[in-house]
Amino acid sequence: MSITRRRALLGAALSITLLAAGCGGSDEPGAATATAGASEADVKAALEAGGELTVWAWDSTIEPVAAEFMKKYPGVKVKVVNAGTNKDEYLALQNAVQAGSGVPDVVQLEYYALPQFVLSKTAADLTAFGAGSLESAFTPGTWNAVRSGGKGVYGLPIDSGPMALFYNKEVFDKHGIAIPKTWEEYAAAAEKLHQADPKAYITADAGEAGFTTSLIWQAGGKPYTVNGTDVTVNLADAGSQRFTGVWQGMLDKKLLSPVVSWTDEWFKGLSDGTIASLVIGAWMPSNLESGAAAAKGKWRVAPMPQWESGGKAAAENGGSSLAITEAGTKKALAYGFLKYIAVDEGAQSRVDKGAFPATTKELNAAAFKGKEFPYFGGQKVNEVLAESAAQVVPGWNYLPFQVYANSIYGDTVGKAYLGQGNLTDGLKAWQDASVKYGQEQGFTVK
C-alpha cells in the first residue's frame, strides 16, 4: 500500500449526525435524485445498459476492484483517477464544481470531510436508490458518518479506522514495560521508557488535529454539536479536559517525540524503535509493513488505553466513503458501482487487498478475524481491531467545516507542542478561531 493511502486515512474520523438543515430546509432530501427517475430497478437497468463512469479515489484497492466490476458488467467502463490525496482531491473537487465541468461521477470523501460536501450540495442523497436499506450492512459508526441528520445517505462507507494501541514489543520488553491499560499507565510508561533510553519516546505527536479529536472522542467529549446550521464548539468539555490533563503532563516532561507524522523521520523512528508505539486507526498494519519493514516481527496490537480503568471505549481515526456527485448525470449507474464496491463482491475483494472493512459481515468473518499477521509475530490483529470497532463511543460529530478547522490546528494549538503555552489555552484559541470562521461562513455558532 502506498504512502498516499496512508496519508489518506490520516486525519480524523467518523460519525456525523449532521446538517439536515445545512442542505436547505426547502429541499426534500432525495427529491432531486428522485425526479431524475431513480430507483433500485433503474440501477439494475443502468448496469445492464452500461456506460462510462469517472471515479476519483486515492485508495489503492479501488482500481483493481473496479476492474473486477467491469468484468462482471462488461457494458460499464469505469475510469479510476487519482486526483490527489484527501485535501488535494477536495481542492480539485471544489474547483471542478465551481467551474461546472470535469466533476467526477463518484468521489472518495473521508468521513470528516463529507459534511462539508453535503452542505455545499456536492454529494447527492442516495436514499432514492435504496441506500437506506443498507443500514444493517455497516458498522454503526461508519453508517452514522454517511447519514445527514438521519434523513439522507450521502455516501457508502468503504473503510473504517477504529483505533488501537500499536506497540513495539521488543522495546517494551527490553525496558520491562507492561502494556498500558489506561492513559495514566501510558504516561508512566512514557516516562519509564524515556528515562531508560533518552533517544526513545513512547510515541510521536507534533500536534495533529485528527489525533486530538479522536482522543477527545474516546474520552467521551462532544466538543462539536451540529443541528442544521446551528453549531456549537466547546473544546473545554469534560472529555477535552481529560485529554489535556494527560497529554499536557507528557508534553511538560518532554515525553513525546516532536517528529511529524508520515515523514521519513517518523517511519525511521517506527523502524528503529525510537518511536515505540502509536495509538492509531485500524488501517495502520499495512502501512507499518511497508513503511517500517525493518521492524517486522516486533510490533503487536492491543486495545486502546482507557480513560477509566476497566473501561471499554474506543474512537475512530480516519476512514472514507464513496459519494456520488450531484453534478453527475449517471447517478443510477454510479450507485450500482458504489454498491458493488462497498457492500457486494467488492467489499470482500477489497479486504483481501488490505482494506479494513466498514461492513459487519466482512468484519465478523472467521477468516478475517483469524488471519495471522507475520509482521505482528503471527498475532491475529483483526480480532483486536474488530473489537475496537464495536466499542466506538456513539454520538460524535464533526464540524461542517472540519477540513478548515483542522488546517489551523498548528496556528492555535501548535505552540503548546513546542513548550510555549499549554494545550488548554491552545484548544481555547482553536475553538475561538473555529467559531469565528463558522460565523463568517454564515453558521450560527456558539
Binding site: 485535501k87 462539508q116 523521520e265 478548515y404 498548528g410 496556528d411 501548535g414 513546542l418 470562521y437
Partner: protein, 289 residues
C-alpha cells in the same frame, strides 16, 4: 486633403496589448470583481462593497504577515545584496583564478527549484537526523533548532540568500562588464589603488543595476511563499497559515474557501508592492539620467 489614419503602430503593439490584457489586466480585473463579494458556505454569495477591504486593514493575521515580510526585507535583502556585490567585485577584479568556475558555481543555486532547495535545507537543518543534529552530537555543540519558531525566519532568510546571491551577482557583474576599461587604465595611471577604483568608478557604475536588483528583491520578499509553504510540512507549528501574506492568501482561498477575501488581500499586497518599489526607484534614481 484627407489623411488616412495609420494603423501600423497598432499593428506592432497589438499582439503585445492583446496578451497583456489577457494575462495581466483580466486577472487583476477579475480579482477586483471578486473582492467586492463574499461567498459563504451558508447563504451563498452577496455583494459587500468595501467590506473585504476594511476587514483586511483590521485583520491582525494579515498585519502579522506583512510585518514579517517587512523584517525579512530589511534584514535579508541588504545581506544578500552585500554578498552579491562582494562576489561580483571579486570576480570582476581580475585577480581571481578560475573566475568562470566561481561565477557558475555561485549562480548554480538559482537553477535549483525553490522547492528542492527548501527540502534540501530542511534535511540539513533537522535537529535530530539532519546536519545540525549531527554537529550538535558529534562536536558537542549546542546549535538551537533552526526550525523552531524563533529561528525559522532566519532559516528562511538563509535559504533565500543561498538561492539568490548568484542571481544578483550576475546582475551586478554584468553592470561591471560594461564599464569602459580605459577608465581603469586612466585611474591606474593617476595612481589609484583597487579600493579607490571601486569607490570612484565601479560603485557609481553599479547604481543602476543595484536599484534593479533591490526592486526585484523587494518584490520577492513581499511575495515570499515557496520556502515557508514547503517548510511547513516539517515544522507545522513554527509556520502559521498566515506566515506571509502570500501563504495567507493561499490558505484563505484553497483551504478556507474564502476566495473573495483572498483576492482582496492579493490586490492590497500587489498595490503595496508596486508603491514601495516605485518610491524606492524614484528616490534612488534621482539625478541619474
Amino acid at each position: 486633403m484627407v489623411t488616412r489614419r495609420s494603423w501600423i503602430g497598432w499593428q506592432f503593439t497589438g499582439p503585445f496589448l492583446a496578451v497583456f490584457a489577457l494575462v495581466f489586466l483580466a486577472p487583476i480585473g477579475y480579482s477586483a470583481y471578486l473582492s467586492v463579494f463574499r461567498t459563504k458556505l451558508v447563504g451563498g454569495t452577496g455583494f459587500v462593497g468595501m467590506e473585504n477591504y476594511t476587514k483586511t486593514f483590521s485583520d491582525p493575521q494579515f498585519w502579522e504577515g506583512v510585518s514579517r515580510v517587512a523584517i525579512f526585507l530589511a534584514v535579508q535583502v541588504p545581506i544578500m545584496l552585500g554578498l552579491a556585490l562582494l562576489v561580483a567585485l571579486a570576480i570582476d577584479s581580475g585577480r581571481l583564478y578560475g573566475t568562470g568556475f566561481f561565477r557558475v558555481s555561485i549562480f548554480l543555486p538559482y537553477a535549483v527549484p525553490a522547492v528542492v532547495a527548501t527540502l534540501m535545507c530542511g534535511f540539513l537543518y533537522g535537529i535530530r537526523f539532519g546536519l545540525v543534529g549531527s554537529l550538535n552530537e558529534g562536536l558537542g555543540l549546542n546549535i538551537p533548532d533552526p526550525l523552531a519558531p524563533d529561528w525559522i525566519l532566519t532559516t528562511i532568510g538563509n535559504i533565500v540568500t543561498w538561492e539568490f546571491v548568484g542571481y544578483n551577482m550576475l546582475i551586478l557583474y554584468s553592470g561591471l562588464r560594461v564599464v569602459d576599461t580605459a577608465l581603469y587604465e586612466a585611474a591606474a595611471i593617476d595612481g589609484a589603488g583597487q579600493f579607490r577604483i571601486i569607490r570612484a568608478i565601479k560603485l557609481p557604475a553599479l547604481r543602476g543595476p543595484l536599484v534593479v536588483a533591490t526592486i526585484f528583491s523587494i518584490i520577492g520578499s513581499f511575495q515570499l511563499f515557496t520556502e515557508p509553504q514547503i517548510l511547513k510540512s516539517i515544522a507545522p507549528n513554527a509556520i502559521t497559515t498566515y506566515f506571509t501574506p502570500n501563504v495567507y492568501t493561499y490558505q484563505l482561498s484553497f483551504t478556507g474557501q474564502q476566495v473573495n477575501y483572498s483576492a482582496t488581500i492579493a490586490l492590497v499586497m500587489g498595490v503595496a508592492t508596486m508603491i514601495v518599489a516605485y518610491l524606492f526607484q524614484r528616490r534612488s534614481l534621482k539625478g541619474v539620467d
